[in-house]
Structures are given as C-alpha cells and as structure tokens.
C-alpha cells in the first residue's frame, strides 16, 4: 500500500516546519522515513546535499545527526534521566563518562529538568519524561530534530511545559520538523506549515495563510474542528450567535 504520494519539501537551517493533518494521513510515516526508521521504497531524501538512500550512506551516522522525539517518549526505562541523555553521547559520539555527564547536565538544564536528573523515567510525569526525551535528542546536537506528536499523549495540564521548552529551543535556532496539532505553537514559531491529507500535501503556507485564508475545503473543515477542540473562542462564540 502506498502511504505517501509525491511529497517534496525543503527544510532550511533554523527553520521550523509544522506538519499537521488528520490521523492516518501519513505524518508519522513521513517523519520515520526522514530518519530511515521506515526506509522509503522510492524517492530521495537529502541531508546537507547527501542522499540518505545512497547505498554507501552510513545510516547510523546519519541518524545521529537527526534527532527524534517520540509520541510515547520511549525513554530507556532502566536508565536515570541523566543517563538517558548521555547514553547516545557515550555510545555514538564517543564522549568520555565525565564529558557526557557534563553535556547531559547542561542539556537537562535547557529543558529545566536538572532537578530530576537522578530519577528513573517511571518516577517522572509524562511532561517531564517528554522533556527528557527532548534533551536526549538535543544533546546529540543534531542538524534537525523530528517531533512526532510530542504532546498528544500528555494530560492537558502537562502540555504547556513541553511546548514552552519546544518554543525555547526553536527560538535558539534549532532546525525542527514538528508533527503536531498545537496550532498555538505553530502560529508562534512555524516558518511554514504543511497540511497532509491521505499521504499527499494538500496545502502549504505560512501560519498567517492557514489561519486567515486556507484555500481547500478539507483544510478549512479540519481547522474548524481543531479550533473547537483547542478552545478557539471566536469560533465558539460565532456558533452560539448563530443559534
């Protein structure tokens, strides 16, 4: 079955791309193709001009330059938060124990998790776990970080902290590709938004474009739904006016 059809886009350095769309439209698959967790059957993916699909490409080295933050965090359950962050540094980047620890602490500070450095994932709340997950990706100093619905498994009251951290690192100039339905986040930092529907790009443009004048009916309908779900007050008011 073909999941993704004719998708082509470029991500420039320091850019934040937000991908959104209905479930089953292939957003996650797209991300997993980009870091070759699900290698695509056809097509080309380039990272700094080098094709990932080339037979001589070293996938492990490439993946170490593409960070990934998962919907269900996927923290290493047997390691403390700080060891979760330093594992990749030590085993992939060849840092010494002390270097890795220092770097991990520094990164945990960026996501405001230093206080919980010695806790195991099971002792942390979902939002804290996700912030460690972000630190784990961030510590590797990747060229780009992929976020796969980072807040959709969180309780509403925990989303704010994670989004704040994402905003901070976006503003510090990290290149990001984010699959999310947090339109507030998109409005704040997205350089471009891409609407995926049934495996194809239905519409793309700046946040301004999407929030004021989306072209396709499908996108309009989807945004209407989201607006209601995420407390778009204007929309709710209009509905009650109509009645």
């Amino acid at each position: 079955m073909q999941v993704l059809k004719g998708i082509s886009f470029k991500v420039l350095e320091r850019e934040v791309k937000v991908i959104f769309g209905p479930s089953g439209s292939g957003k996650s698959t797209l991300l997993r193709c980009i870091n070759m967790l699900n290698p695509p059957d056809k097509g080309e993916i380039f990272l700094r001009g080098k094709s990932l699909m080339a037979p001589e490409a070293d996938l492990n080295a490439i993946r170490s330059r593409i960070g990934m933050v998962f919907q269900h965090f996927n923290l290493f359950a047997h390691l403390k938060a700080i060891d979760n962050v330093s594992l990749g540094l030590r085993r992939v980047k060849g840092f010494s124990k002390e270097e890795a620890r220092a770097k991990a602490l520094e990164t945990l500070d960026r996501v405001k998790m230093t206080k919980w450095a010695d806790n195991y994932p099971a002792q942390l709340s979902g939002g804290q776990q996700q912030r460690v997950g972000i630190a784990r990706a961030l510590a590797m100093e990747p060229d780009v970080i992929l976020f796969d619905e980072p807040t959709s498994a969180l309780d509403p009251e925990l989303i704010g902290d994670v989004l704040q951290v994402m905003l901070d690192i976006a503003k510090s100039g990290t290149t990001m590709i984010v699959v999310t339905h947090e339109l507030g986040f998109a409005r704040a930092v997205a350089s471009e938004m891409i609407f995926l529907g049934e495996g194809a790009i239905l519409e793309r443009g700046t946040p301004q474009h999407f929030f004021t004048s989306p072209k396709s009916e499908r996108v309009k309908k989807f945004l209407e739904q989201l607006d209601i779900l995420y407390g778009g007050h204007d929309k709710l008011l209009k509905l009650s006016d109509g009645e």
Partner: protein, 372 residues
C-alpha cells in the same frame, strides 16, 4: 530404638504423652479454628461475629472428638487419625456451616476446604511441637540423641556434599546461560535458518530426561573430555555439560520471552539516536531483558540445583550421595536422612527464588520495564 521420636520404650510415658496430646491439640484447634473461621468469613463478607464461628467450632468439637478418639484407639497412628478427622471435619463442617452461616452447600463446602487447608498443617506442626516438648521432658536422652543425629546428617551433607552440588549448579547454569542467551538471540533476531536451529534445539533437549543426558555424556562418550586427567573430574565435566545443554533449552525460552517483552519503542529510540543494532542490543535491550528474565531464571536455578542430585547415579559424591550413604548404613535412619536432605535442598532453593522472584517483580514494576 533410640531413633524414633514417638516410638518409646516406656508404655506409661507414651500413654501420658498420648493423653496430653489428645486433650491439648483439640483445644488449640478449637481456638485456631474459630479465629480462622471468623477471619475467613469476614473476608468473604459472610459475617463478622466471632459468636457464630465459636458455635460452629463447639459443635464440631463435640461431634468429632469421640470419633477422633475412637480412630486413635483403632489405628494408634497420629497421621492416619488426622487424615480421617480431616474428612470428618469437612463433612460435618459443611453441614454446620450451611446451617449457621445460611449458605448453599457448594459455598460452605469450599469454605470448609479452605479452613481445613489452613488447620491441617497447623495441627500437624502443633502436635509435633507439643509431642517434642513432652518427650524432651519424659525421655530427655532419646530426644537429645535424635537432635544430635539430625545435626550429624545435616553437617555431613553440608560439609562434604554442598560444595560439589553448588559447583555443578553454578557451572551448569553458567553454560546454560551463555548458550541459552545465544539461542534466544538467534530466535528473536536471527534469520529463518537460525530460528529453526534454535527452536529445534529447544524441542530436542526439552524432550530428553536429564538422567539419560548424564548417562550419555558420562558413560557413552568416555573420550569427550580426554584432556582432563582425573576420571572423576571427567565425569563431573560430563554432568555439567548435560546440565548446561538441558538448561540452555529452558533458559533460551526465558530470555526469548524477556527480550520480546521489552517495549518495541526502546529499540526505535536507540536506533534513532544513531546506535547500531548491536550497540542498542547491548546497552538498551539486554539490560532490560536480563532484568525481566531474573524471576524466570531463579526458577531455572531451582530446577538445576535439584537436578544435580542425578549426578550421584554416575558416581559423583554430592549431597544426595551422602544422605544415601547414611541411610543405607543405618536403614532405621533412612527416612530421617532423606528428610534432612530434602530440607537442605529446600533451604538452598526457597530463599533464592523468593528473593530473585518476588522482589525482582516488584522492582521491575517500579521501574516500569516491560509491557507497554
């Protein structure tokens, strides 16, 4: 004559002990029974009053005491009497509980089974303790002698046999661990051929009794360990090989289950960091899988340490062989030496399975390893 605890010379003293036992034990059973019944009735939400439990137990005491006494006279054997009184108690108990707790036959029958399951061992232990104290009073020399004999057998088994038993167990388990883990990795990550090989191996070695494996390697292949000088050490090596090969078949299952129950996302997260498959296996999957395998593995330890007792069939002098020697030298002490041997094995399995099994499960739960 000096050996058996209750087989005593003096008819009169034995009579006194019998009388004291027949009086004290029912009283203790009556009290324990009432409180057990109250506890269980409360747990089942049948009622909380101790009064009902006391009434039920009083009737049971009045009904079953003469019958018990009769059977004691006929058979003159404590164990037989207890088994008969167990049946009597369940039969009467069911009817009385039906009447006083106003429950259906099936419920009160099950209720009584549970109560008796608790009471029966308690009764045995209690009468043993009371009998022991009484014989200590009436025949101090015989009783002390028996204790010395028990200690004698125990120290003989421990001093001479324990080291070799633990040696066989440790090496058998270690060999089984290395081979079993490799087989498990083959089954999970290997291609079709490796999977076939590993599962074929498991099926083969799980289907052969350990004694036959030991016979094959110890006597059937005398040149298998030609480089070991001493013939007895050669046989030891054969036994270890048999234990390891068999244990590997079981340990492979344990590790396969453990690896498969590590969350799939863990591997993905490790790969996404840029770790190779092997590195992810080593630093992420195996540390979790081995933790998950500990409870199952402790069970395997219990199996292997008990299976080392088969080594005595090929001439290795370990714990079983020492108890066997003692028992054949003093046939009247056969049951005692076997009991001491059984308790010794139990002492070396139960604490380990308890510690590694239940405590590890709790620890894993706290870490959230395994499952989704």
């Amino acid at each position: 004559m000096i050996t058996m605890l209750f087989q005593v010379g003096s008819e009169f003293a034995a009579f006194v002990i019998g009388i004291v036992l027949t009086i004290t034990v029912p009283i203790i059973i009556f009290i324990t029974g009432a409180y057990t019944m109250k506890w269980y009735a409360k747990k089942k939400r049948w009622g909380v009053s101790i009064k009902t439990a006391l009434i039920v137990n009083t009737i049971l005491l009045i009904l079953s005491s003469p019958i018990n006494f009769l059977f004691t006279l006929i058979y003159n054997d404590i164990l037989v009497t207890y088994v008969i009184s167990l049946v009597i108690n369940i039969t009467f108990g069911t009817i009385i509980v039906m009447k006083f707790y106003k429950k259906r036959f099936r419920d009160s029958f099950l209720f009584n089974i549970v109560i008796q399951l608790i009471l029966f061992p308690t009764t045995l232990i209690l009468s043993f303790i009371i009998g022991f104290i009484l014989s200590l009073i009436f025949f101090p020399d015989i009783t002390v002698n028996t204790i010395i004999i028990i200690w004698d057998i125990f120290s003989l088994i421990i001093i001479n046999g324990l080291a070799i038993t633990l040696f066989l167990t440790a090496l058998g388990l270690l060999g089984g661990f290395l081979l079993g883990l490799s087989l498990a990795l083959m089954r999970v990550y290997g291609g079709k051929e490796l999977t076939w090989f590993a599962s074929g191996y498991e099926k083969l070695f799980r289907g052969i009794p350990i004694l036959i494996l030991i016979f094959i390697f110890a006597f059937g292949m005398p040149d298998l360990f030609w480089y070991i000088a001493h013939p007895l050490n050669r046989i030891q090596a054969s036994v270890i090989l048999a234990l390891a090969l068999r244990s590997a078949a079981y340990q492979s299952q344990i590790f396969r289950g453990a690896i498969l129950s590590v969350n799939l996302g863990q591997m993905e997260a490790a790969r996404a960091l840029g770790m190779s498959r092997l590195s992810a296996l080593r630093h992420v999957i195996l540390p979790q899988a081995l933790r998950l395998a500990v409870p199952g593995w402790s069970n395997e330890y219990a199996i292997v340490i008990k299976d080392t007792s088969f080594a005595f069939e090929v001439g290795i002098i370990e714990m079983t062989k020492w108890a066997y020697r003692y028992g054949t030298n003093y046939p009247e002490l056969w049951i005692l030496s076997m009991a001491v041997l059984a308790i010794t094995y139990f002492l070396f399995t139960f604490p380990v399975t308890k510690l590694l099994g239940e405590r590890q499960i709790k620890k894993l739960k706290n870490l959230g390893i395994g499952g989704s």
